[in-house]
Subunit: 495 residues, 2 copies
């Protein structure tokens, strides 16, 4: 008992320090004066060092080992505490400090090189750095340990317990279906009614409407706030402090879907049980499950005709002069347009996942030593031809388009698609529990959906590992069936 | 050499942690969602504990002792580092942790009682708490140590090296002069031209004009920002991150003088030498010297006719419909009105210091045991009658008006008046160096003034103790002569 109390006290300290770290990062993206970059780097470094020392402390290891030995007598909450802290402890202990520092230096050196390479559309410039990044990523996998494939050690950092073997199986099923849908193009705006482009939307109208979108899905502004940043994101600075950001371009509807996307992330965090405050359970359990919630609110709900049957008239009123002469059906077709392109971040709901599968396959084979880095652009282009039917015109729009590799983030990309797949499975489970789901959506009874999600997912925070949570909610493991069916329904039959 | 390097490394860590603490506090006042109060309290507590441990560490004490022993061989910068860290170390070590926790609890219990007492205008409600606060403050003085008067130990926390004996002498001279000036009332708005009240000023116009005021005095927005808070303040989050706040009331010109006041604080911090970044030298040396800079820019410069001869036409343009038919002289008279009242925070430049002297004398005598707390309201009212010629109608407008005592901040009040006195002395020194100072002001050559202040004061940060700095800049110690003469010039002869 005393040991568990001591463990909770250490967990509370770590959680508070991580929340402070999140504030430093939020402020840097949203508020910080431009000249303060070096000041902030110093602060982040000092605080990260303190956190690293505390998470790797031998005293913590002893407590965790003792707790693990008496695991049978622990409450579920305490078991989860031990599971999460052990993961953090082991991860931080296995990587030597010198290796972490060297890798961080390599990353900060690689970023400007990648920027230059992309600018000049010349992969050769970036090649020697990517070689080092892949080699150090392999080293990292070795330090962290894995059973079957070095990719698994990296994937596990983002999606606890998932393996490349599972992804191989899921994607083998998913890719041909997506490629077929992309070929058919599915829903496109009706050609005879070109309702877009629309007149520029004033920033204050965008802010007001995105705040309204957040309110209708149940985001609590007393426990958060929405600000402007270069890229929209959600962050958690405390149990009652989950902040979102957005960006506003006069000629884009992105602000609506960013609000719903970040709002989905924030709903997850705002509805974690209060008893988990000040513990590492007080956050979403994995990137994939987190992304399932942003995608569920942004896409499954937020691009549905049923949702807009209620909110389109409100949008028409909120943004004077933009959509008064647009029909609901045309609006809904527009926001569901399927149009494959070379750039991942601009991709539609269908082809987005093909972009991810390309990257997954290449990363997996790079780490397995099955391909030479010099061949990467060629292989990239072949896969784009095969999966998306597109010819890559330039490495800048091809293999060099993402910052992730320059950032040393291998193993990260699949979480986006895991999010899409899980979102569709979870939505299916919701619909089974609410056969009148169409009415629920049409009537704007989003609180009913949020309540179900809170009960089944949000309130648990990180109590259950992601696979266990999904099994519990959906009665089945991660698969691509629900998502494929969802896309087919959307593109073939209705909106 | 190696020890000095180690000292610098510890100083850098502490400075970074204190800057993080400042961000947590800034965010709390300016950005934080209302429901996150408890989260933030937890974060502040965790971080404060870490800072306390680091500043009281025996390893630091050893380094400081060794450095002090070789003080003759130290560079001025390193000597100052040792001086400041030793002050911090000693202060934190002398106060037992339990005492600090007990005092903090007493303070947080006292605040709501003071609020209730003030609401009901009943000193008796607050009396038992104030008794405990005075008694614990005495205990604090004993822990910290003093030579002559327990007040000195508390005063030294805010104004290094100053004593109540010095303040007795200075205030004995100052008070009768101020009382005479208050009796004469000095400048008042001309009765036949009631130019105020003016129409409400839109917040966006107030923000734009206060930003312009900050810019004209030389505040760098790339290294700071201005936001809204309940009470204006300045804070430092890093060498290139000095933030100010302001507040905007439609019927008040306060926003102009708050911008100049906080801008003065911020100019001090923005112009500290870059080599002091990441050390405790990277801040203003004392509250009094800091306040001298806010008051110099707000009052001596910012309420002068010469300053407004340049900026009043700009104000007239910036705030349409408010001042178009107002004469410069009437405006200047209005912002320099001398009108004693019961409330300190609403006081004019002359009577403000009488409010301070009342509080100083009472605190001093309370700590010396020369008066019983139950007599406090009566003594307060007597002094207001004697010094300001006012009859206190209620304890709410008298002895209960300030939060400071409920906050356990005894020894703090004089720093405001020290600021006024030092500002006048420093301004005299500036005028000796620039005989054309009137032209300098009239032409808006504020950069010339800022440069001189930077060279003589700002750049040094905390390199010199406050008394030494003042002696160096003005060739004399703190006194009331310059300030009295400044007020006389203002009220008797010109604006």
């Amino acid at each position: 008992m005393k040991k568990i109390k001591e463990l909770h006290s250490r967990a509370a300290e770590l959680t508070n320090l991580n929340n402070i770290l999140a504030l430093l990062q939020w402020d840097q993206e949203v508020m910080m004066p431009p000249a303060a970059t070096a000041d902030r780097a110093g602060q982040l470094s000092v605080l990260s060092t303190i956190i690293h020392k505390k998470i790797t402390a031998p005293g913590l290891r002893n407590l965790l080992q003792q707790a693990a030995e008496h695991s049978d007598h622990l409450a579920a909450k305490d078991k989860a505490l031990v599971r999460i802290l052990t993961r953090e402890h082991v991860r931080n202990t296995k990587l030597p400090e010198k290796f972490v520092a060297d890798f961080a230096r390599l990353t900060s050196e690689s970023l400007p090189v990648w920027v230059a390479a992309r600018k000049q559309a010349d992969f050769k410039i970036f090649l020697p750095y990517l070689e080092k990044i892949v080699s150090m990523s392999l080293q990292k996998s070795d330090y962290l340990g894995y059973e079957e494939h070095p990719y698994d050690a990296l994937l596990d950092l983002y999606e606890e317990g998932l393996t490349s073997r599972q992804l191989n199986d899921i994607f083998a099923n998913l890719q041909p279906e997506l490629t077929r849908l992309v070929e058919k193009k599915g829903v496109t705006p009706s050609q005879d009614k070109p309702v877009f482009p629309f007149p520029p939307i004033a920033q204050k109208d965008q802010i007001a409407f995105s705040e309204m979108m957040l309110e209708v899905i149940g985001y609590e502004f007393t426990r958060g706030r929405q600000d402007v940043s270069a890229h929209p994101f959600t962050t958690s600075i405390g149990h009652n402090d989950r902040r979102v950001t957005n960006r506003y371009r006069p000629d884009s509807l992105e602000f609506i879907f960013s609000a719903l996307h970040e709002g989905g992330h924030a709903l997850y965090e705002q509805n974690i049980a209060a008893e988990y405050a000040d513990t590492p359970l007080d956050e979403g359990v994995s990137l994939g499950i987190h992304e399932s919630q942003s995608r569920l609110w942004e896409n499954i709900i937020g691009r549905s005709r049923l949702f807009w049957s209620r909110y389109f008239p409100i949008l028409q009123q909120a943004i004077p002069g933009s959509f008064q002469h647009v029909e609901l059906d045309d609006f809904t077709r527009h926001i569901n347009k399927i149009q494959p392109g070379l750039i991942r971040v601009e991709a539609d709901e269908v082809s987005y996942n093909l972009h991810i599968i390309v990257r997954f396959e290449l990363e997996r084979d790079l780490l397995a030593g099955n391909l030479r880095i010099v061949e990467l652009p060629e292989l990239w282009n072949e896969k784009y031809k095969k999966y998306l039917g597109l010819k890559v015109d330039s490495d800048a729009n091809g293999v060099l388009q993402d910052i992730h590799w320059a950032h040393s983030s291998l193993g990260y990309f699949p979480t986006y698609t895991i999010g899409n797949l899980a979102a569709a499975q979870i939505w299916d489970a919701y619909c089974r529990s609410d056969p009148d789901f169409k009415q629920t959506l049409q009537q704007g009874r989003l609180d009913k959906i949020r309540k179900w999600l809170t009960e089944n997912i949000y309130s648990h925070g990180s109590l259950y590992p992601p696979a266990e949570l999904l099994q519990q909610v959906c009665g089945e493991p991660l698969h691509s069936g629900s998502f494929i069916q969802y896309l087919k329904n959307k593109t073939e039959f209705s909106l």
